[in-house]
C-alpha cells in the first residue's frame, strides 16, 4: 500500500472466476481484490463457496472460466490460474485449512522444516551424503535453525520435538500457520482461524493476525464465521452467498448492509 505509482496495488485479484461441478454452480463470476498489506475477510453462510474460492486460488480446482492474478512484489504480476498447488505455493501463497491438516506423525519442528523445503536449493542426494556437500549441509542446518526460531516466535518452542498430533488444539492451529510461514509467502490465506477457540483465545487472535501481517510483511485473506474476529481485524470484507459476491466494504458498512443480513438470517429478519 506504500507504492505510490500504482493507484491500487493489489496482491491478488480474481476476475470473473466461475467454477461448476457438474450442474452445480459453486462459484459464479467472482471478481475481487486484496490490497497489498491488507487484512481482508471473506464471509458468507455455510455452503456459500468460500473454501471453494480458496481452493481455486491455491490451485486445487481449476476455474471453469475467469482467472486469478497474483503479484508477489509491487509492479509485477502473473496469472496463477491453472498452476498446480505446489507451484502456487512457490509463487508465494500459503494457506491453512478449516479442519487442521498437520503432518501428525512428525514433530512440530519437522512440520515447519517441510514448509521450508520449497525454498531449499540443495538436492535430496546432496543432503543424503551431506559429508560431501558442505554447502548443502549448511543450508539444511540453517533451515532447522530458522524453523526453531519460527516456532519460538509463535510460542511453540516447547513443542518442537513433540509429535504434532499430540499437540493441544490451539497449538496445532498455530503450528499450521508456522508451517505456512516457513514457505516464505507474501500472501496468506487463513481458513477459519478462530474455529474451536474460546472467547479469550479469539480475542488474542486479533492481535496475533495483525502481528503476523506486520512481522512477516504479509497480506492476509481470511474466512471466518466468528463475527467479532472478522469485524475486529479485517480492513475490508467481501460477502459470498450461493457462489456470488453480494457485497463488499468496510466492516461497519457490511454490518449495516441489508443484503448481507438477509443472506445470513433470511428475508424476514432483514425487513424486521
Amino acid at each position: 500500500m506504500t507504492d505510490a505509482r500504482a493507484p491500487r496495488d493489489n496482491i491478488l485479484s480474481l476476475s470473473g472466476v466461475t467454477l461448476r461441478f457438474g450442474g452445480l454452480l459453486a462459484v459464479n463470476g467472482m471478481t475481487m481484490a486484496v490490497p497489498r498489506g491488507g487484512i481482508v475477510g471473506l464471509i458468507g453462510p455455510n455452503g456459500a463457496g468460500k473454501t471453494t474460492a480458496f481452493n481455486v486460488i491455491t490451485g486445487f480446482y481449476k476455474p471453469t472460466s475467469g482467472y486469478v492474478e497474483f503479484s508477489h512484489a509491487p509492479g509485477e504480476s502473473s496469472r496463477i490460474t491453472g498452476l498446480p498447488p505446489h507451484r502456487v505455493c512457490e509463487a508465494g501463497i500459503a494457506r491453512t485449512f478449516q479442519n487442521i491438516r498437520i503432518f501428525g506423525n512428525e514433530t512440530a519442528l519437522q512440520n515447519v522444516m517441510v514448509g521450508a523445503y520449497v525454498r531449499q536449493r540443495g538436492a535430496w542426494w546432496m543432503n543424503m551424503f551431506s559429508f560431501a556437500f558442505p554447502a548443502a549441509a549448511r543450508e539444511e542446518r540453517e533451515i532447522a535453525d530458522n524453523a526453531v526460531s519460527l516456532l519460538e516466535r509463535l510460542g511453540l518452542e516447547k513443542y518442537a520435538l513433540a509429535q504434532a498430533s499430540s499437540l493441544p488444539y490451539g497449538a496445532q492451529r498455530r503450528l499450521e500457520i508456522a508451517r505456512a510461514l516457513a514457505t516464505r509467502p507474501s500472501f496468506l490465506l487463513l481458513d477459519e482461524p478462530a474455529a474451536g477457540m474460546n472467547p479469550q483465545e479469539s480475542a488474542d487472535l486479533l492481535n496475533f493476525i495483525r502481528r503476523l501481517r506486520d512481522e512477516f510483511s504479509l497480506s492476509i485473506l481470511l474466512i471466518e464465521h466468528d463475527m467479532k474476529v472478522v469485524m475486529g481485524v479485517c480492513e475490508h470484507i467481501w460477502v459470498l452467498d450461493q457462489g456470488e459476491l453480494i457485497a463488499n466494504g468496510a466492516p461497519a458498512d457490511i454490518k449495516a448492509n441489508p443484503r448481507v443480513i438477509e443472506a445470513y438470517l433470511g428475508k424476514e429478519a432483514a425487513h424486521a
Binding site: C89, F103, G104, E106, Q110, Y117, S130, L151, A162
Partner: protein
C-alpha cells in the same frame, strides 16, 4: 537455538556404532568358520530379507504407497544379475526350449557390477511403472502394482530366448557370502537412514501423512513419490540379485505374489515406517519361517512317528499376519527408530516419531 535436536553425545554414539559393527563382523567371522551351510544360509537370508523389507518399507511405510509389486522387481534384479555372471558356456548349455538370444551369450560382468546393474534395471522398470501408476492413489495402486509384478512374471515365463522361460536359470555362482550380504545391508541401512534424516525425509513422510497439505506446502508430491518408489525398486532389484546368488537357481515361480506377502509380513511385524523395524521384522519372520518347517517335516519321537503336514507352515504364517494386524497394528517398533540415546536413557523419550534425532 538451544532446542535443536542435536546429537547429545556424538563421540559416545560413534564409538558405540564402531563397536557394534565390530561385534557383527566378529560374529560373521565366527559363523563362517563354525556354522553349517544351512545356518549360514539362514543368516544370509536375514540380511537379504532385511534389505528387501527396508526397500518395501521405504515405499509403503515411509512414503505411504501401498505396493504389491516387489516380487516383480526382485525378479528383474535376480535375472539381470544371473544373466550377467553366468559364463557363455553355461548359457549355451542351459537353453533347451529355445536357443538363447545371440547378443546375450557374450555379455559378462563381475558380480558387483551385476549387482549394481540389477538395482539400476529394477529401478528403471520401477520408474516406468511409477510414472503412470502413481497418478492413482490408495488401493488401486496396490492392485496395479500387483498387476505389473504379474506381467513381469508372465514376460519372464514367455521370453524364452532371454530368460530360458519356465525352466529358469541354474548354476548361478554362489557369490552371496555373509560379508557380501551384510555389507549390502549396512550400506542400505546407512543410505535409507541418511535419507530419512534429511529434510527430504521429512518431506517423504509429509506426503504420506497428508498429501493435500504437502501440496500446499509447495511439494510436488507426485515426483516425490515417483522418486521414493524408484529408490525402493532399486533395493528390490539388489535384494533379488543377492537372493538369486544365494540360492543359485531361479525360476519365474519364485517371484509369485507370495514372495511380496512375506516381505509385507516383515514390515508389518517390524513396524511400518521404521528402519529398525525392517531389520527386527526380518530377523523374526525369517527365523520363524525356517523354524516352522518342522511342522511340514515328519518328526520321530522315539518310536512315535508324526507325519509332516505340507502347507501348514504358511497356514500358521497367515494366522500370525492376521493376528498382528488385528491386535498390534503398529508392529514392534511403530514408527520409531533405534538410537544409542534411546538405549542409554530410557527416560528421555521426547524424540518419539523418529527422524530428526
Amino acid at each position: 537455538m538451544s532446542t535443536l535436536p542435536e546429537n547429545k553425545n556424538p563421540v559416545r554414539d560413534n564409538a558405540m556404532t564402531v563397536v557394534a559393527t565390530a561385534l557383527l563382523a566378529a560374529f560373521l567371522w565366527w559363523a563362517e568358520g563354525h556354522l553349517d551351510g544351512y545356518k549360514i544360509r539362514i543368516i544370509n537370508l536375514i540380511a537379504i530379507n532385511a534389505i528387501l523389507g527396508l526397500s518395501l518399507n521405504l515405499i509403503y511405510g515411509m512414503a505411504g504407497m501401498f505396493s504389491l509389486g516387489h516380487a516383480g522387481f526382485m525378479a528383474i534384479g535376480a535375472y539381470v544379475s544371473a544373466l550377467l555372471i553366468l559364463t557363455p558356456e553355461q548359457k549355451t548349455a542351459m537353453w533347451i526350449l529355445d536357443p538363447i538370444a545371440p547378443w546375450l551369450t557374450g555379455i559378462h560382468a563381475p558380480f558387483l557390477v551385476s549387482l549394481l546393474a540389477a538395482g539400476l534395471l529394477a529401478a528403471l522398470f520401477g520408474w516406468l511403472v511409477a510414472l503412470p501408476v502413481l497418478r492413482l492413489g490408495g488401493d488401486y495402486l496396490g492392485i496395479a502394482t500387483l498387476g505389473f509384478s504379474e506381467i513381469i512374471r508372465i514376460l519372464i515365463t514367455n521370453l524364452t530366448p532371454i530368460t530360458n522361460g519356465p525352466l529358469g536359470l541354474k548354476g548361478i555362482p554362489s557369490h552371496t557370502s555373509l560379508w557380501m550380504s551384510y555389507g549390502c545391508l549396512i550400506a542400505a541401512l546407512a543410505c535409507v537412514a541418511r535419507l530419512m534424516r534429511s529434510n527430504f525425509g521429512n518431506v517423504i513422510r509429509a506426503v504420506r501423512d497428508d498429501e493435500i497439505a504437502a501440496k500446499t506446502m509447495g511439494i510436488n508430491t507426485y515426483s516425490t513419490r515417483v522418486l521414493a518408489f524408484t529408490m525402493g525398486c532399486f533395493g528390490g532389484g539388489v535384494g533379488g540379485a543377492l537372493m538369486g546368488n544365494l540360492i543359485t537357481t531361479i525360476d519365474p515361480k519364485m517371484f509369485m505374489i507370495t514372495q511380496t506377502y512375506s516381505l509385507l509380513m516383515i514390515i508389518v511385524v517390524g513396524g511400518l515406517g521404521s528402519i529398525t523395524g525392517s531389520v527386527v521384522g526380518s530377523i523374526l519372520v525369517t527365523t520363524m519361517l525356517e523354524w516352522l518347517r518342522f511342522v511340514e517335516n515328519p518328526v520321530t519321537i522315539g518310536s512315535l512317528e508324526i507325519p509332516g503336514i505340507p502347507g501348514m507352515r504358511m497356514v500358521i504364517f497367515s494366522v500370525l499376519l492376521i493376528a498382528v494386524i488385528i491386535f498390534r497394528r503398529e508392529g514392534i517398533m511403530g514408527m520409531s527408530e533405534f538410537s544409542w540415546d534411546r538405549l542409554f536413557s530410557y527416560r528421555n523419550r521426547v524424540t518419539r516419531g523418529g527422524g530428526a534425532s
